[in-house]
């Protein structure tokens, strides 16, 4: 685990390459040709099945089309240009802003919960010493489970019948049938995948059922954070913590002044990767609620999918493409610093 060489920023630290390739232009060109022979298979597949579809998405977001009457950039008879109408249609519809708000809830809550729970678990387990790997495995295990299966599995836990769903059964035993209103906050337990209340934010209603969907995703994804934090902790000298203790630091202070600064990089990685993951959310919502009830749990990725794949006869694919472009722009904007660190520079990395 001490292989710091495999963390992202170092991955681009590529050696200078073939020494023979450099000196003279003629040889250089020959070197290029050899290198491109190696790259070609992957580059061709990537160009054909990623770059070109991405270009098509961007182009097609300015046309009206459906999957039954698709837009083809190379065939002008399929062109029904509508300018930026798809964008204005998306941005002026209530369902877009509803989905955008739910996605925002995911973008804020999911990374915080993943990072927080993974940090807590990693630090606790780190103290266990010899038995740590056994306990750690429990938290890494759900990472192998597909989100579709995770959604299905959690639906059982959430089942509203207290004879089937464990959560409601436990609440029944504890006689906790919670229902209260606290200012803008309304909470009622029981129908975990339909309506468990809301928080009125003034500009929008935060439906708490979204939190019930985020929880399984956190459960499935926290293992990533545990692995990342464990890697960071493994390079933390135990004496550092010991000496802090001897100097009279309390546990909370050790965490704040020793652990957190040391884990800066794993924290950033876990947080950013969770943000990226949060915007992509589709599987859990599709399996657990299909965006319902009404559109209470619809996120952007699901809305986009419905525009293109559910309303086949209506020419809504262009709107779906426009939403996809907007999502991509937001994500590149949010994750640009991270992208730069992936690209190398790599200087922050030798600092440790």
């Amino acid at each position: 685990m001490a292989q710091q060489t495999t963390t992202p920023a170092t991955a681009t630290r590529m050696p200078a390459g073939d020494a023979r390739a450099a000196p003279r232009p003629a040889r250089r060109r020959r070197g290029d040709r050899v290198a491109w022979l190696f790259v070609a298979p992957l580059a061709l597949i990537f160009a054909g099945f990623y770059l070109w579809p991405a270009v098509q998405t961007i182009l097609s977001s300015f046309f009206e089309w459906s999957l039954l009457a698709p837009f083809d950039p190379l065939d002008t008879s399929t062109w029904y240009p509508v300018g930026t109408d798809n964008y204005t249609a998306a941005l002026s519809s209530d369902s877009f802003w509803n989905a955008a708000f739910n996605s925002l809830v995911w973008l804020i809550v999911f990374p915080v919960l993943v990072t927080g729970s993974a940090l807590l678990v990693s630090v606790l387990i780190w103290h266990l010493g010899r038995f740590a790997p056994v306990f750690r495995t429990v938290f890494i295990l759900p990472m192998t489970i597909s989100l579709a299966a995770a959604g299905v599995i959690w639906s059982f836990v959430y089942n509203s019948d207290p004879d089937v769903g464990l959560l409601n059964a436990v609440l029944r035993v504890l006689r906790l049938d919670i229902a209260f209103d606290l200012g803008p906050l309304h909470v009622r337990t029981g129908e975990w995948l339909a309506d468990i209340g809301s928080l009125d934010l003034g500009f929008a209603q935060l439906r708490l059922v979204n939190l019930a969907l985020i929880l399984p995703a956190v459960w499935a994804f926290a293992g990533f954070g545990v692995v990342t934090f464990t890697a960071g902790l493994s390079s933390l000298p135990g004496e550092l913590v010991d000496s802090a203790r001897i100097d009279g630091c309390r546990a909370g202070q050790v965490v704040r002044h020793v652990l957190i600064p040391h884990l800066r990089k794993p924290l950033i990685i876990t947080y950013v990767v969770s943000v990226i993951f949060a915007l992509r959310t589709f599987d859990i919502v599709y399996v657990m609620t299909e965006g319902g009830p009404a559109q209470d749990t619809t996120v952007l990725a699901l809305l986009l999918w419905q525009q293109a794949f559910a309303f086949l006869t209506e020419p809504r694919a262009g709107v779906g493409a426009a939403i996809a472009v907007l999502m991509a722009v937001v994500m590149v904007f949010l994750a640009y610093p991270y992208l730069r660190s992936l690209m190398g520079g790599g200087s922050g990395d030798e600092a440790r």
């Binding site: 685990m1 495999t6 963390t7 992202p8 170092t10 991955a11 630290r13 590529m14 050696p15 390739a21 070197g31 050899v34 290198a35 491109w36 190696f38 790259v39 992957l42 597949i45 990537f46 099945f49 990623y50 579809p53 998405t57 698709p70 606790l124 306990f135 890494i140 759900p142 990472m143 192998t144 489970i145 597909s146 579709a148 299966a149 299905v152 059982f156 836990v157 019948d161 089937v164 464990l166 059964a169 399984p216 459960w219 990533f224 135990g238 203790r245 990767v273 990226i276 993951f277 992509r280 599709y286 399996v287 990725a301 999918w305 794949f309 996809a324 991509a328 590149v332 992936l342 690209m343």
Partner: protein
């Protein structure tokens, strides 16, 4: 580290409690899959040893999921093989050679780890139709190519970093002996980077196996993977929790077995700082 006995007990106690909490969903699915539907209706937690049965698993497999499982294997194995081969060749060039356009291509590949997959999703279906990859078993070829394209950035990101760790002196010595690039890759780089390649292969397998969105959107019913089959089983109107639970166990099993057997490689690969959930 000095610590009182009390706090040690507290520590072990809290971690154990957290672990048990974390296992509740899995235990729920296992139990519902292992007891008759009638028992599930009356609380699976009341079930005794005598109630345990394999009937649900057998029925879920026979009635619903065996076809989907075969599809999942074809798609996952095909995608992993193609991605590893094409990715290893390209990673050699990225890690060891200089060429025009390297930086731009690397940027494009790496950005797939950040840009949501939705950016390619919608035009893929008409595009695969244009290419003649939208009918019959050719759909497998189509989705394997899409998975490979989508995994390409990840493949380069991981494998090139492992390839870059191979000591330059070894390659230099081979070059002086007159070895060509193909030989160097096959005889020196690949054997030394094998653990890294294995890590990538496992993670890619788990990722492709767990895909729902592409399988749901691009394939017809006869060619969809297990995740879609499971989502279809999970209809609120069908009272068949036992089959759904059994299905989720079946769907989870292959990645879980891989994880159990090759845990070391899997964790190491994850640690390489992933983006693909």
């Amino acid at each position: 580290m000095r610590r009182g006995k009390g706090s040690a007990i507290l520590l072990y106690g809290s971690v154990t409690a957290l672990c048990l909490l974390w296992l509740v969903p899995v235990a729920t699915a296992v139990m519902i899959a292992a007891v008759p539907i009638g028992q599930t209706r009356n609380g699976w937690w009341h079930a005794g040893f005598g109630d345990l049965t394999f009937d649900n698993l057998v029925e879920a497999w026979r009635e619903a999921l065996s076809g989907y499982a075969v599809n999942s294997f074809v798609i996952a194995v095909g995608s992993v093989v193609l991605t590893v081969i094409a990715g290893a060749l390209a990673s050699y060039a990225f890690a060891r050679l200089r060429f025009a356009g390297k930086r731009v291509l690397y940027l494009l590949l790496i950005s797939t780890m950040i840009v949501p997959v939705q950016i390619i999703l919608i035009p893929l279906l008409p595009w695969l139709r244009t290419l003649g990859l939208s009918t019959g078993d050719l759909q497998f070829v189509g989705i394997i190519l899409v998975h490979t394209a989508f995994g390409a950035g990840w493949a380069i990101f991981m494998m090139a970093s492992f390839f870059a760790d191979v000591p330059e002196e070894l390659l230099e010595a081979a070059r002086i002996d007159g070895a060509r690039h193909g030989d160097i890759l096959r005889r020196i780089v690949l054997p030394l980077a094998l653990p890294g390649i294995a890590s990538f292969a496992i993670i890619d397998f788990v990722f492709v196996w767990n895909d729902l969105l592409l399988g749901l959107s691009l394939l017809d019913r006869e060619h969809q993977p297990l995740t879609v089959g499971l989502a279809n089983l999970q209809s609120p109107h069908l009272a068949q929790e036992n089959l759904v639970a059994a299905g989720s166990i079946i769907a989870v099993l292959p990645p879980l077995v891989l994880f159990a057997v090759l845990n070391r490689y899997y964790v190491r690969g994850l640690f390489a700082g992933g983006v693909k959930g």
